[in-house]
């Protein structure tokens, strides 16, 4: 495609930096001291439960929310005093915000008209981008004559047609059904490679964030809980919140925690092992164990005594819900058809786990 051939000009973007950003609405703190450097061309996802402040950050970058403190810099220059129309940032809004009285092509032409691009150039650029998003012959349709997926593409084309160096996407797949979401996720990644723009993607869907983004900023209560690549966040969660939000996790109260070289010696009901890494600051020590890092064994093996309270067959995986001697619930997941020991409900077993994959938090 032609768009792929166009190398982004050298002076485009060195990136976006968010510096100690704070947003307060009448006493309520929506964003609390958030700092983040986003490199040029990066695909970063803001992930978090609703109300965690991710959309507020997006709207601050776009210019619709005025931060109460901190700064946002694009290419090293503060953009806070710029009105949204001068920032040149592409935004795909939640629900798309297409202009209902304009056709798809007129919607897409709008930003070019605002930039006083001449008529003939507008026509070619609009038809080129319509082709790129796969809507070649639907330019004459009004938004209400299109399906949700098609409207989505129009919104994307409209935000991309003026070649912004930064593209903000606010839950862009929220209104689509599951199959279409998966297809669009794939397309977004391809598109990102093709246009080379920085993409900031807001979502509450962890699978979407994990599968698409280069980096994830996980938000909680107006703060960034952790920033990292999807695999970092998944395998080395920085806090109990992160471990619980991304993937599933058991949290067990540890009986003793002793510092030793390269980590800690931890014991749960007499079952002891070495856990790598420093203990997360604050809070009583809990051991975070992902269900697929745990295993179930006959009652005469080593581990924590447990009783099977439920068995759920999930397809490739089977989940055992057990109750430990301490009364805590503990979930274990393993490949369904690979084991000789297959306990059933009510059986007394031992629960164990791979110590070097566990975390203290």
């Amino acid at each position: 495609m032609n768009a792929a051939d166009q190398q982004p000009p050298a002076d485009r973007s060195q990136g976006l930096s968010i510096e100690r950003l704070g947003v307060t609405y009448r006493e309520v703190t929506a964003i609390d001291d958030v700092s983040l450097e986003i490199e040029r061309g990066e695909f970063i996802a803001f992930l978090g439960p609703s109300g965690s402040g991710k959309t507020t950050i997006l709207m601050s970058i776009a210019g619709f929310t005025k931060p109460t403190s901190g700064d946002i810099k694009l290419d090293g220059r503060s953009i806070l005093d710029m009105p949204p129309e001068d920032r040149g940032i592409g935004v795909v809004f939640q629900g798309y915000a297409l202009f209902p009285h304009l056709t798809a092509a007129q919607n897409i032409a709008f930003p070019l008209e605002m930039r006083k691009v001449d008529r003939s150039a507008i026509t070619t650029r609009v038809s080129k981008i319509l082709d790129m998003v796969g809507l070649g012959d639907l330019g004459g349709r009004y938004p209400h004559e299109m399906s949700g997926g098609q409207q989505q593409r129009v919104a994307l084309a409209r935000a991309l047609v003026f070649e912004p160096s930064l593209l903000l996407l606010d839950e862009p797949l929220g209104a689509l059904d599951k199959d279409r979401r998966l297809a669009m996720q794939q397309e977004f990644r391809l598109l990102h490679k093709k246009i080379g723009a920085t993409i900031i993607y807001v979502t509450h869907d962890q699978h979407e964030a994990l599968s698409m983004a280069d980096r994830i900023a996980l938000m909680d209560k107006g703060r960034i809980a952790q920033v990292g690549t999807p695999s970092e966040i998944f395998s080395a969660p920085a806090s109990r919140f992160v471990a619980g939000f991304i993937g599933e996790c058991n949290f067990l109260k540890a009986d003793t925690v002793d510092r030793e070289e390269g980590g800690h010696r931890v014991s749960v009901a007499g079952y002891a092992g070495h856990v790598r890494g420093a203990q997360a600051a604050g809070g009583s020590a809990a051991l975070a164990i992902r269900p697929h890092h745990a295993f179930i064994a006959p009652h005469d093996s080593i581990g924590v005594p447990a009783t099977v309270s439920d068995v759920m067959f999930l397809g490739e995986l089977t989940e055992y819900i057990t109750r430990l001697s301490s009364g805590e619930e503990f979930r274990i997941r393993r490949i369904s058809d690979k084991h000789d020991f297959n306990p059933s409900i009510g059986d007394h077993v031992k629960a164990g786990w791979e110590w070097d994959r566990c975390r203290l938090c």
Binding site: A62, G63, F64, P83, P84, E85, D86, R87, G88, I89, G90, V91, F93, Q94, G95, A97, L98, F99, P100, H101, F110, P111, M114, R115, Y142, H144, E145, R158, A159, F162
Partner: protein, 572 residues
């Protein structure tokens, strides 16, 4: 002084300029005339005379009593209708909504007059009663308190029904099904779920009806007897009978202050941030309500479909009856009103269309109406546009100013408008009437535009902004085109408000510029020939034609744009 600079800066923004323009206009045409009455009064001694005179308090009390009865009566008539419309399928709902709103589009004067044709000695009711020989001689129905109340309920019905419907249509009807599955019978479902959820609509509709009823003038004059004098009639009498402007001004201020205080108290009582649940408890908690509820459950009227069908049919008949009775009456060929006429002819229509007074009045009203509509569309839409950004400085504080003209008694404003226009040479002129009428019409344009803007939402304009559109481009290319349906409806209502306006016209319209309502008013009071019903039918038919054509055009343009077509007519 950064904050001062900031404040000045926000006023210099395009929204600030729009807001300033609209505010200045409303202050000049609405607030200033009200204050000019203070100057026209005799001073403190005049007010002391008014406040210490028991007679005025009696009339004031009567006015409040009438308003309360009318508000309660309108609620009783409108509730079943709105509820039925809410429950009905889309087609039935549209029909009921048309029934609800059509009277609103026809002339208020003609609608009040229509009740004369029903209640007159030779009107519909008496002719039915005597021909069935239930009564020997015709009953005195006209010029009674009952006639005033019925006529007023009729006038207030659309407003109340729409206020109720607006609230009811927000109710999730599955909650009713849920209540049934949880063991509540039809009556309990109504009492425990639907009624409490519709309560905010009851409050807003009743308060609104009560406030507007305080200004009742046309209906009690045409239908009431000497005992049904309202405060507005008193004020008009001071001017037109005694020529005592300062007393009229004092009475106006008196009415304004007392009803303003009452409004504040009412809003205080009703506007408390209560959750619907607590309100429900408040309703169901009282003993009387408990008894009533038990009675309703016992009588099983909620299980009786036919009962409710009869109720709805009766309400629909009530809406249509006066309009329908007028037509045969206007076609009578004798020199006086009778129902049914012994012989039919188009004689009175012929006389109407060849009477230069009626023709000139029609043209005058057309001119005034178009001018007033134009002005109020510009000002009302500007105000709504300026306030769409809730962060706009001062917007919240100023908003009530753009609604106030629809809430104060028209007679009070008419006195103020007259006092203001005389020294400016604007009385008895098209411009003067249009200015005064525009002030009265701005609230409707403002509210409809605000509703329209709320429907458009801020996202679309934010999208335009993120795509590089500055203020002017955003408003001209995105917001205004999307707002056209609301502007059209607002303009139409503004035009009808002016075209139908009588109270201001009583003073501001004279020998040179006689408006259609003023001509109609004089004829309705002085003439007894069927030329008046003929004029009423013509006015109503013309109004309905204009509205139908407008609705059709709007519907066509909307279905092209693919948005829900009926929402505009329903309003807030």
């Amino acid at each position: 002084m950064p904050s001062l600079l900031k404040r000045a800066g926000s006023l210099c923004s395009p929204n600030g300029v729009l807001l300033l323009f609209a505010t200045i206009y409303v202050c000049a045409t609405f607030v200033f005339p009200l204050f000019s009455m203070l100057a026209a009064s005799e001073g403190l001694s005049g007010y002391v005379k008014v406040v210490t005179d028991g007679f005025y308090w009696t009339i004031l009390f009567n006015t409040f009593k009438l308003s309360a009865i009318v508000a309660a009566g309108t609620l009783l008539v409108a509730y079943p209708l709105a509820m039925r419309a809410c429950m009905a399928g889309p087609r039935m709902r549209l029909i009921l909504l048309i029934f609800m709103t059509v009277p609103m589009w026809t002339s208020l004067l003609a609608r009040s007059y229509a009740w004369i044709s029903v209640l007159d000695r030779r009107g519909l009711v008496n002719s039915v009663l005597t021909s069935l020989q239930i009564t020997g001689s015709p009953l005195k129905l006209l010029h009674t308190t009952g006639a005033t109340v019925i006529g007023s309920i009729y006038i207030m019905l659309p407003m109340m029904a729409l206020a109720l419907f607006a609230q009811m249509s927000k109710i999730d009807l599955t909650t009713l099904k849920a209540a049934r599955t949880l063991g509540a019978g039809p009556a309990q479902t109504f009492l425990r779920v639907f009624l409490p959820l519709s309560f905010p609509g009851i409050v807003s509709g009743t308060v609104l009806t009560f406030i507007v009823s305080l200004g009742l003038f046309v209906t009690p004059v045409l239908l009431g007897g000497p005992q049904d004098r309202t405060f507005s009639m008193l004020i008009e009498q001071e001017v037109n009978t005694f020529g005592n402007f300062s007393r009229a001004a004092e009475l106006s201020v008196f009415l304004l202050v007392v009803s303003g205080l009452l409004l504040l108290v009412l809003l205080r009582l009703t506007n408390r941030r209560q959750r619907p649940g607590r309100r429900a408890k408040a309703i169901t908690g009282t003993r009387a309500a408990g008894l009533l509820a038990r009675l309703i459950v016992m009588l099983r009227i909620f299980e009786m479909r036919w009962f409710w069908n009869v109720v709805i049919l009766a309400v629909l008949a009530f809406i249509m009856l006066p309009l329908v009775t007028l037509v045969p009456m206007s076609l009578g060929s004798s020199n006086y009103l009778e129902f049914p006429p012994k012989t039919y002819s188009l004689r009175w229509y012929d006389a109407l269309f060849h009477d230069s007074r009626w023709i000139t009045a029609f043209l005058n009203s057309l001119m005034v109406g178009l001018l007033a509509a134009l002005i109020s569309v510009v000002v009302g839409t500007s105000a709504a546009l300026a306030m769409r950004d809730r962060r706009q400085r001062g917007a919240r504080l100023i908003a009530p100013l753009f609604v106030a003209p629809s809430l104060i008694p028209p007679m009070v404003y008419a006195i103020g408008a007259y006092i203001t226009s005389v020294p400016l040479g604007l009385q008895d002129s098209v411009l003067g009437l249009a200015l005064a009428h525009s002030a009265l019409a701005i609230p409707f344009v403002f509210i409809i535009s605000e509703t329209g803007l709320a429907g458009i939402g801020e996202r679309v304009e934010q999208a335009a902004q993120s795509l590089g559109a500055r203020w002017t481009s955003r408003v001209w290319r995105i917001t205004l085109p999307l707002l056209i349906p609301s502007i059209a409806v607002g303009g139409l209502i503004a035009f009808i408000t002016s075209f139908d306006e009588i109270v201001v016209a009583l003073f501001l319209s004279g020998i040179h510029v006689q408006t259609l309502p003023k001509t109609f008013w004089r004829a309705a009071i002085l003439e007894v020939t069927p030329i008046v019903p003929a004029a009423a039918v013509t006015i109503m038919a013309a109004g309905l034609t204009v509205v139908s054509v407008a609705a059709l055009m709007l519907h066509l343009s909307r279905s092209r744009a693919g948005r829900n077509p009926s929402s505009v007519f329903i309003g807030r």
